[in-house]
């Protein structure tokens, strides 16, 4: 039966075929493990400096932030109407 053969040859999920897979660098196979730790330690200050350089400091403003939306919208309207209003004033000299 083909199906039985297939299940027999395949690895069950629980078995680790290549031994214990721990964190990289912690394997105590040979000198290579210690080297990666040393490299990581050496790189720490460099990484720290890079992090500091890339830091953007944001200070909270002393005064409360007030968004005067009403004024800004009005100003837009005033700018839009100013040309027409100027013409209106010129055309009605008796009342302006």
């Amino acid at each position: 039966m083909k199906s039985i053969e297939l299940t027999a040859t395949s690895f069950p999920a629980s078995i680790r075929p290549e031994g214990d897979r721990a964190m990289p660098g912690t394997t105590i196979s040979d000198n290579g493990g210690r080297m990666t730790w040393q490299r990581a330690l050496l790189a720490l200050p460099v990484l720290g400096a890079m992090a500091m350089a890339g830091c953007v400091t944001v200070k909270a403003p002393d005064k409360p932030i007030v968004i005067e939306l009403n004024i800004n919208i009005k100003q837009e309207v005033v700018y839009r109407l100013s040309q027409d209003a100027g013409q209106t004033i010129d055309k009605n000299p008796g009342i302006f």
Binding site: R80, L81, I89
Partner: protein, 136 residues
Amino acid sequence: MTGFLNTTFRRKLALGGLGAALLLGAAVPVLAQGGRDPAYAAARAAGQVGEKMDGYLGYVSTPSAALRAVVEDVNIKRKAVYAEKAQANHATVEEYALTSGCLLIRQTSPGEKYQAPDGSWQTRTSAPPLRDSRCP
């Protein structure tokens, strides 16, 4: 014959000159007032009325009944114009009036009164007037 012609010609010239002088004399004050009602023009020049920020005339000092009538008439006419133009420009009457107020304060002549952003009456000098921050 020539003498007669000359005299009529001279008379016509003199009459024409007189007419021109009369026309000029009548035209100059009208131009100076800009077509304003004389009572309104006088009150403006005297600093009794001034331009408000909202686009209407205001009283700097307590007005006489006659002056009040003239100023109210001007303000009613202004409001009618503002309303018509505001509708045409898809804006509110207040927005159009405020815009006009900005411009009217800017074009006041030295000596005339206008309302500053703090609400006080100021006399226009040759310096730019104190206006609302939204004014163009």
